[in-house]
């Protein structure tokens, strides 16, 4: 049949290359694939497979490869195929070991199947091809990301798994592209940041990574003791920024620093997992502090995180407090984790989906750890934790992450109102990201959603990252998320939220590792928690993600980090509740959503909530307390949100009935850290309209 015929009848006739050294399995697989009406080529040697692929990349649409092969490691083949040919690769194994799945995700597999393979599983593998095709062109520019998001979202919807895998794919495959994109996005994000804060229309200032960087530079130049808002403002020389914005941001920053130092010691104590979290959170912060936004979430970042005391925080409730601190700026050791960040940040909320790409693991892991550390909530963390693992090893099959992601993503959507429409990219891949196995490429929850409207977009991005489900997913995307402050959630957030991309975000989270690092700048501004609280269910999740994200201007860089960072930042205000509340992600998400919801719902509260976020971002002290005040109103909302969140992903385990509830547990947990929330948190309620 001609190529056209094949394409027209897609998925019938899809060309699959099957590689497995076991002849029995290969034969069975071949026949199963034939039964699905695919066009099958088989080989029992990986080397031979590579040769065939190199000979003509266009001869195949999809590769299925066994993990254990005598002549070459399946993961190696996976990497090579992904790098050279950019084809979707499905891993096949008799092992269902989580680590292996995570490895697959981080290496960029779009899916991970277990032997014996059943025909049902093979019937849907064509989706990975479609997804990859759709995403690739988009990666090039942000705008397209937006489009992608919806597309991915749709695709992702097909199945969580697919989302994850798709995300992963996307993330993995798009790693390179994503990186480019991230850079683009960063630039764009920054631009948006400038637009948002500077545009007079918007009341709230989004403390994007870039903005925060300038802020930090100014503060350092003046000396922390001598830094006064007026002078800082002058030094920063940013149009549209008012002294009040700077003042509130400065306050947060100082708190953050205080926490950071406390956490640093804690971090040291934390174990490796912490590193992940730390990385995630740190990244966000790091990003916040340092311009290194390139959120490359590489696993290396994780390492760096570990070192950063801040990370330690993340892992433990202490880390939560860090989050709160983070609001001001994550002074945290920038630790390279950017890579992690990506995974983490988005993951923080999400599960990072899965990040499938190896990178994602960093994110995811980082996120959950940091966020969830306290709780290790499976829900959120699953996504995230998975991610974490991934980050280390590669995103744990985004599946875990996915879930996390989903939750994250939802939150973001609704926020537009409160935050200066910083699209909360949080889309939070989380709930969905429970990875279907791979963090699935959550398409980097690109913060793109910076504007409220953009939120979707932004989230889509991140969600893409998160989808990393292929768990491994998409850290890269997650990285993108990192760009947006809101990103962290991208993974889970996006998903629930309109973002179709969310699923992808989960994965992207994984990939985003790289990305996440980037976006610190964008982060703050973006936080478009656009996740409409109203949406509740999904939104909540996203919102949280968003909120978390938004708060974390710095953490932006790494989605996972963001979350954590957000949390940190928020933690001051809200993040605390978030962090502690749910497994990191969910908590953050929830919180964010709560914030949003509250904001949105309660208008007043929302403002405070948003303000808190924004405040964090913009420096205005997030008045979580305020929110709590409004809680009464919000409570209903919050409760609603919480419930939604709960149901949504289960991440939200804590489901705060109200911010108070959230904050309380958080506070308890992080008593030390919580100072932020309770004491410090007493941020003044952010001006409702704007943190400006």
């Amino acid at each position: 049949m001609t190529v056209e015929d094949q394409i027209d009848r897609f998925p019938v006739g899809m060309r699959v290359l099957a590689v497995d050294d076991d002849p029995t399995c290969l034969k069975v697989l071949e026949n199963l694939l034939r039964k699905c009406q695919y066009h099958v080529t088989t080989t029992n040697q990986a080397i031979e497979a590579l040769r065939m692929l190199r000979e003509n990349r266009n001869k195949f649409d999809l590769v299925i490869s066994d993990v254990n092969m005598p002549d070459m490691d399946g993961f190696k083949l996976l990497e090579l195929v992904g790098l050279e040919m950019d084809l979707p690769v499905i891993m096949l194994s008799g092992h269902s070991d989580t680590k292996l799945v995570m490895k697959g995700v981080t290496h960029g597999a779009v899916d991970y199947l277990l032997k014996p393979v059943r025909i049902e599983e093979l019937k849907n593998i064509w989706q990975h091809v479609v997804r990859k095709k759709n995403f690739d062109p988009r990666d090039q520019n942000k705008a397209s990301n937006d489009k992608r998001c919806p597309n991915t979202a749709e695709e992702g919807n097909q199945s969580i798994m697919s989302d994850d895998s798709g995300d992963q794919n996307k993330n993995l495959g798009k790693k390179r592209k994503d990186q480019t994109e991230e850079e683009e996005d960063d630039g764009e994000g920054n631009g948006e940041d400038n637009d948002d804060p500077s545009s007079q229309k918007k009341p709230r200032v989004v403390w994007s990574v870039e903005l925060h960087r300038k802020f930090v530079a100014a503060v350092n130049q003046l000396g922390l003791d001598k830094a006064v808002p007026k002078k800082i403002l002058d030094l920063m020389n940013v149009e549209g920024l008012t002294r009040e914005n700077v003042a509130s941001h400065l306050q947060k920053y100082r708190l953050y620093l205080k926490k950071a130092t406390q956490q640093a010691s804690m971090v040291a104590a934390l174990g490796s997992t912490d590193s992940y979290l730390r990385m995630g959170s740190i990244d966000g912060y790091a990003e916040f502090c340092t311009p290194s936004g390139s959120g490359r979430i590489s696993s290396t970042a994780l390492q760096s995180y570990a070192s950063s005391g801040i990370f330690g925080r993340l892992n433990s409730p202490a880390s939560l407090s860090m989050r709160s601190i983070s609001s001001s700026t994550l002074i945290q050791p920038p630790v390279q984790p950017p890579n992690l960040n990506s995974t983490l940040s988005p993951l923080g909320n999400i599960q990072a989906s899965i990040f499938p790409a190896n990178q994602t693991s960093g994110l995811l892991q980082g996120i959950p750890t940091s966020i969830e550390l306290n709780q290790s909530k499976q829900n959120c963390t699953t996504g995230i934790t998975q991610v974490n693992q991934v980050s280390c090893s590669g995103f744990t099959a985004a599946s875990g992450f996915r879930d996390g992601r989903l939750t994250v993503g939802t939150a973001s959507n609704s926020l537009p109102s409160a935050a200066s429409s910083n699209s909360l990219m949080l889309r939070g891949n989380s709930p969905q990201t429970h990875n279907s196995g791979a963090f699935r490429n959550q398409p980097p929850v690109r913060p793109a959603s910076f504007g409220t409207d953009s939120f979707d977009v932004g989230i889509c991005e991140p969600s893409n990252m998160l989808d990393y489900n292929r768990c491994n997913e998409n850290w890269q995307n997650a990285a993108q998320l990192s760009k947006f402050p809101a990103h962290p959630l991208p993974l889970p957030l996006c998903e629930p939220f309109n973002n179709d991309p969310l699923p992808s975000t989960a994965i992207s989270v994984t990939n985003t590792n790289t990305h996440i690092g980037h976006s610190p700048v964008d982060y703050s501004s973006r936080v478009a928690i656009s996740v409409p609280l109203e949406d509740t269910g999904n939104e909540l999740q996203c919102q949280e993600g968003l909120i978390g994200n938004i708060l974390q201007p710095s953490s932006y860089t790494t989605p996972s980090q963001r979350w954590e960072e957000h949390k940190l930042e928020y933690s001051q205000n809200m993040s605390r509740p978030f962090n502690s509340v749910n497994s990191e992600v969910s908590s953050s998400r929830v919180k964010s959503s709560l914030g949003h919801n509250v904001n949105q719902k309660n208008a007043t509260c929302s403002s405070s909530f948003d303000a808190s976020f924004v405040g964090q971002l913009s420096g205005a002290p997030p008045s979580i307390t305020r929110c709590t005040n409004d809680d009464t109103r919000l409570k209903s909302n919050d409760a609603y949100i919480l419930e939604q969140m709960k149901s949504q992903d289960g991440f939200i385990q804590n489901n705060f009935g109200t911010l108070d509830d959230i904050m309380v547990p958080v506070v308890k947990r992080e008593q030390n850290e919580l100072t932020f929330l309770d004491g410090e948190m007493g941020f003044e309620a952010y001006p409702v309209g704007s943190c400006i």
Partner: protein, 146 residues
């Protein structure tokens, strides 16, 4: 022709008994479903492949276990492969024994490994015999029809 029906029934009953006794699991059904006019001998082909592969693997395993210094990783790799292929055709009991075999490998328990190997061989020969019987019956059926 009359003899066909009883034979058919015999085959069905026999197959059912194999499932009941756990020799085969649902995966075998999948194989059967894959068999059709365009692929009439699929099941036999695949199972034959499995037999060949399994023989080879068991051979390798036996050799590996009599070495002076046992390479457990290699051992594990072989067992893993055997597990994979047995699961692909639905040889459930063989698969199960492989799992416990792998545990022994991971624990580096030589005694356990030797024991497991015996078990695997035993289960394998059982299921092999049974499947061969089944195929013979089916052949008769086809021959009778033809």
């Amino acid at each position: 022709m009359d003899g066909m029906v009883p034979l058919q029934k015999q085959i069905l009953d026999y197959t059912a008994s194999l499932f009941q006794e756990g020799y085969l699991d649902d995966q075998f059904n999948q194989l059967q479903e894959l068999q059709d006019e365009s692929n009439p001998d699929f099941v036999v082909e695949v199972v034959t492949l499995f037999f060949e592969d399994a023989d080879r693997l068991l051979n390798e395993l036996s050799k590996a276990l009599v070495q002076e210094s046992i390479d457990f990783r290699r051992l594990d790799a072989h067992v893993h492969q055997l597990k994979g292929s047995s699961s692909s055709i639905g040889a459930q009991r063989v698969q199960r024994v492989c799992i416990s075999f792998r545990n022994c490998c991971q624990e580096q328990n030589i005694e356990g490994c030797l024991k497991s190997l015996q078990q695997v061989k035993h289960e394998y020969s059982l299921v092999k015999t049974k499947l061969e019987t089944l195929f013979q019956m089916e052949e008769q059926l086809v021959a009778g029809r033809g």
